[in-house]
């Protein structure tokens, strides 16, 4: 049970590659990592989550907080690479309608 977060900043796009499990234990680490992202006007961000194998409400809480923060500065958060399981978690909580989410169906698999 672990989490890895790698953040790459290039001009006005910040990309965070998240992998592992996001739960009560690892969510604070994700929160800390995302807090290091320099907030500025119109910041474009992407959370790449294709290697997230598990997530629950603790992870949703961190992502929602990040989303609010970025949006407050007129920025944008995009979630990419979500498995159908992960997408479902956003959908049943109603967050799927609010957030910009791309599922991981590039390879044609569900």
């Amino acid at each position: 049970m672990n989490i890895q977060v790698v953040i790459k900043e290039e001009e006005n796009l910040v990309k965070a590659f998240i992998s592992g499990e996001i739960d009560a234990f690892t969510a604070p680490m994700l929160r800390e990592k995302l807090a290091t992202v320099q907030q500025k006007e119109n910041l474009q961000t992407e959370l790449e989550m294709s290697d997230v194998s598990y997530m629950d409400s603790t992870g949703l809480g961190v992502i929602v907080a990040f989303y609010k923060h970025v949006n407050a500065n007129n920025g944008h958060v995009k979630l990419t690479g979500l498995s159908t399981r992960l997408k479902r978690l956003f959908d049943i909580t109603g967050l799927g309608e609010i957030m910009d989410i791309e599922t991981d169906d590039k390879g044609g698999n569900k």
Binding site: M1, E21, D23, A24, F25, Y54, D56, S57, T58, L60, G61, R85, L89, I92, T93
Partner: protein, 156 residues
Amino acid sequence: MRPFDYVEIRVPAKSQYVGVARLTISGLASRIGFTYDEIEDLKIASSEAITNAVQHAYSEVDEGEVVIGCALYPDKIEIMVADHGKSFNFEETKTKVGPYHDQQEVQFLREGGLGLYLIETLMDEVKVHHQEGVTVFMTKYVGEEQVEENVETITS
């Protein structure tokens, strides 16, 4: 003989053990024959309950324990999560838990936001008992989703 197998997990009320308990429950669920999706639902629901218990136990005493009782039936799993370390009698506590219509009762669960909502959504039955700490009792049936989707049952 009891009509079910009973497995009890007792962990320190620390967040690093939520994942350990989740893995154990996942293993138990796969023994009963839950589908991949059902097991993923169970993992999230039980983690939510255990996370709540861990956070609650923390605020009460320095070193609490969380007790997770799992009753395994041929067609369902019952999971009870208690945030007080005292050993509980699964059958006895089960008779005490009731629906959580009382808003006050689950106030602490609501604090965390989506936790209880997810438990309600992902499990088939949920009950909460608030006395000497909080006990969440939840049930999930094997193949419930298939029934809802109206898949024809094949009987041999």
